[in-house]
Symmetry: C2
Subunit: 114 residues, 2 copies
């Protein structure tokens, strides 16, 4: 009946660097192998998706995406090794957080036992 | 340089029950002893603040605020004992979360050591 929800994001000098929305975009790029397909899947324009990728790369100072240009769809895109590592770290971080929040919520509020 | 931020909230049947904004309101009522003063402090109208209190009480099924009517300012308002307990639990929950997030963030991303 009661559920706890959380949102989390990383900032650098007060600016958003990365969060769940951007995570979904990177994950979609990884599975679709294409920024344009990924952007459609997460419901944003190609232009916006591309801008997001550039902004994350700049703020994290790592190259996330490798592009093979060409084709009508803007070519294929892959996560770099560093990109994969970052995504995995974020998953580990996020997963741990979800578990923590759920456990702590139940232990503090005891809603489940009511 | 990098910082992790989090937002957390409790839902019941998909509806927002309680979160950091409502926590700030309740804390302000506690310290001001007045819903109208508290609402000014957190920057919302008296009407909205009162509506929030009623909605939280209804969704949590506990009485949070005791009112002593009268005066030009709408009278004094106090947190009930149940309200105090709820606030303390939320603080415990939130505080633990902040600590967890910071620790996990540093351990996963190692940004501090870069």
């Amino acid at each position: 009946m009661y559920k706890v929800k959380s949102k989390i994001w990383i900032e650098k000098d007060g600016e958003l660097v990365f969060g769940d929305g951007k995570y979904e975009l990177l994950r979609a790029i990884k599975s679709e192998g294409s920024i344009s397909k990924a952007s459609r899947r997460v419901g944003m324009s190609y232009r916006k998706a591309w801008g997001y990728v550039k902004a994350i790369e700049e703020r994290l100072d790592i190259k996330l995406i490798e592009r093979k240009k060409g084709g009508i769809d803007g070519g294929e895109s892959f996560l770099t090794k560093e990109g994969e590592t970052f995504l995995k770290k974020y998953e580990e971080f996020r997963q741990g957080l979800n578990e923590y929040v759920d456990k702590k919520f139940i232990s503090v509020f005891k809603f489940k036992n009511k």
